[in-house]
Structures are given as structure tokens and as C-alpha cells.
């Protein structure tokens, strides 16, 4: 639980959407599978709270970055699967570029040699 708290505090605005879009780019997933996929990809460093994920998915649906459909999972359960749209891919591309610039800026600042 402590790690969840720290992750939530440390994520910058838009980071969750970015990770969701990137994960969905590989293949469509339902909410629970998304949580698991992000957790696994980050080697358990990131744990996505359901309280953040579902409102974020609604925002992304509203923006048209993802679309959702109801289907039956491998376990026979009715699930709502999300997949990224062309608009979402465009947004992902732009955000990745901005994120790269931001990281580069931070890296340069941190790389300054102390006097």
C-alpha cells in the first residue's frame, strides 16, 4: 500500500493516459488486464489504482483516444475491452515526444557539474 501511495504522488499529469495508450497499442485489454499489464511491464514498480484508472479511461473515451466494446474473456466473463484509436495513437506520439524533451531537460539539469 505504501508503494501505491508513493507512485500516485510521483506520477505527473498525463502519465497514466500515456501508459494506458502505449499498453493498448500492443493489444486491446480490459480494465483489470490493463492494471496487470502495466504492473508487469514496470516490474511491479508501478501499481495503478482502480480509482485512477477507470475515470482516466472515461476521459480517454470522451477524448476519442480509445474505444470500448463488451466481449467475453477467456475465462468466460463479460468484460469491457478497450482499444486505441488513430486519434489516440496521434496523441500518444505527441506526448512521447514532449515526454522525451522533458526527460532530456531534466537529465541535462541533473548532469550539471557541481562547482
Amino acid at each position: 500500500m505504501a508503494s501505491k501511495q508513493s507512485i500516485r504522488r510521483d506520477l505527473f499529469p498525463g502519465a497514466l493516459e500515456l501508459m494506458v495508450l502505449h499498453t493498448l497499442k500492443r493489444h486491446p485489454l480490459h480494465g483489470y488486464a490493463l492494471v496487470r499489464a502495466i504492473q508487469t511491464s514496470s516490474r511491479d514498480l508501478l501499481q495503478i489504482e482502480e480509482g485512477s484508472l477507470y475515470p482516466a479511461l472515461q476521459r480517454m473515451l470522451k477524448e476519442g483516444w480509445v474505444k470500448a466494446r463488451w466481449t467475453t474473456s477467456d475465462t468466460g466473463r463479460r468484460v469491457r475491452v478497450y482499444e486505441v484509436t488513430p486519434k489516440g495513437l496521434k496523441h500518444l506520439s505527441g506526448e512521447r515526444e514532449r515526454l522525451g524533451q522533458m526527460f532530456e531537460g531534466v537529465r541535462l539539469v541533473l548532469a550539471m557539474v557541481e562547482p
Binding site: 480490459h30 480494465g31 483489470y32 488486464a33 482502480e50 477507470y54 472515461q58 463479460r78 469491457r80
Partner: protein, 235 residues
């Protein structure tokens, strides 16, 4: 997207979110069961991790709430632009609406006043209707009754009234009683009558009873008539 579809969309958002969170919970419970937890412990932990499902649904719905308002505003502006661009069509629409709404409003107002609204008196259904029918003491029909009384100056006045009931049911059968009438002053007045309920517009009754209240003779005449529930007779 029209308003109906938007409202239906909102219901869909609620239903989808509720179902989605339930599915999420089930998935988590399954996983915890596979990890060796008892069903009860798994359910408890899964619920604890998910948090307040109702709150989550509301937060998801909030995302769309402003979208609905924004869409409605956009639709309104679009409609206004379209109407401005077609003045002849706009005039026709406005005229049609005016002709449709205006008479309907008037007719409804009349029906409401005459048939639906009751008078603001205690037990309006027990009101009786009195109609002044001249001073010739002639009863022109079974419903016309002569009445005798004194006006405030003490002069005996005679008048003929028609009595009917304000009611649409059988409860308020009216009875005429001549116990207070001036004895022998009118042959008609000595006869009692009982009349079953007549369907009379209530507004009409109200109007007439108010007129009677302003008329001293009519006011006196009231003492000659009594309804089955005289205490409820209001003028």
C-alpha cells in the same frame, strides 16, 4: 445527438461502469483465490483494494456530465445559426408553434378554471349553488324555489332561487329545508326537495356564490336553504 440520446448515453455510462467494476472485482477475487485465499478473504481484500465502487462510478460519470452541457450548448448555437440563415422557415416554425401553443394554453386555462380547480373554501364539494330568478315568486321549474326572508332593513323581501349541488358524485345530494322560511309566504318554499347531484362548473358556482354574498336578499335567502352539511356551505 439529441437530448434523448444524450440522456440514454448517460444511463449507459452508469450501467457500463457498474458492470465494469463488478467484472474487475470478480477478476481480482479469482486471482486471489488462485493465490490460496479463502473466498471470503479474497472478496474482502478485492473490495478493499477497489475502494468505493459508487464513488468510482460517480467520478466516471462526472467526466461526461460537462460534455452533455457542452454538446447541448453547441447544438443550441448550431440551431440558432440555421434559423438565422432561413428566415422564412423560422417565421413559419414560430407561427406554427404560436398557433399551436396559444389556443391550447387558453383552452387549458379555461378547463383548469372551470373543471379542475376547486374553490379555496373548506370542503368545496359541499357548496350549493343559488341563482336569483326574479321576485315574482313563481317557481318556473322543479329547481326554482321561492324564498322569503328579511333584508338588513327588516323589510320582507321575496325572491326565487334555483338550488343545485356542486358535485360530481352522489354524496352531495342537497336538501331544501323551509324551517327558517317565513311561514306561508310562499307555497313553493313550504315544499322540501331533494335533488341528486348536478354537474355544475365549479368556477361558475364560485362566481355566483360571491355575487350572492354581495346581495342582501340573497344573503338572507341563505338561511332558507340548507345543504345536507350546512356547516360547510361557504359564500
Amino acid at each position: 445527438v439529441n437530448l434523448f440520446e444524450r440522456l440514454r448515453g448517460r444511463r449507459d455510462v452508469d450501467r457500463d461502469l457498474t458492470d465494469e467494476l463488478a467484472a474487475h472485482l470478480d477478476e481480482r477475487i479469482e486471482e486471489l483465490l488462485r493465490a490460496g485465499l479463502s473466498r471470503e478473504a479474497a472478496r474482502r481484500q478485492a473490495r478493499s483494494e477497489l475502494g468505493n465502487a459508487t464513488l468510482l462510478t460517480e467520478r466516471g460519470r462526472d467526466v461526461w456530465r460537462f460534455a452533455i452541457i457542452e454538446d447541448a450548448w453547441q447544438d443550441l448555437r448550431y440551431a440558432a445559426r440555421q434559423l438565422r440563415g432561413a428566415p422564412a422557415f423560422t417565421a413559419t416554425v414560430i407561427l406554427t408553434l404560436a398557433l399551436g401553443i396559444g389556443p391550447n394554453t387558453v383552452i387549458f386555462g379555461a378547463i383548469d378554471g372551470l373543471l379542475i380547480k376547486t374553490l379555496t373554501v373548506t370542503d368545496p364539494l359541499s357548496l350549493v349553488r343559488l341563482r336569483y330568478a326574479g321576485q315574482n315568486q313563481m317557481a318556473m321549474s322543479r329547481n326554482d324555489y321561492g324564498a322569503s326572508a328579511r333584508d338588513p332593513s327588516g323589510r320582507e323581501v321575496r325572491a326565487t332561487f334555483t338550488v343545485a349541488c356542486l358535485s360530481t358524485d352522489d354524496r352531495s345530494t342537497c336538501r331544501y329545508s323551509d324551517r327558517n322560511a317565513t311561514a306561508g309566504s310562499s307555497g313553493d318554499a313550504s315544499e322540501g326537495f331533494e335533488q341528486s347531484a348536478s354537474r355544475i362548473f365549479r368556477a361558475q358556482v364560485g362566481l355566483i356564490t360571491r355575487e350572492i354574498a354581495a346581495d342582501s336578499r340573497s344573503h338572507c335567502a341563505l338561511s332558507d336553504f340548507s345543504a345536507r352539511r350546512p356547516a360547510a356551505v361557504s359564500v
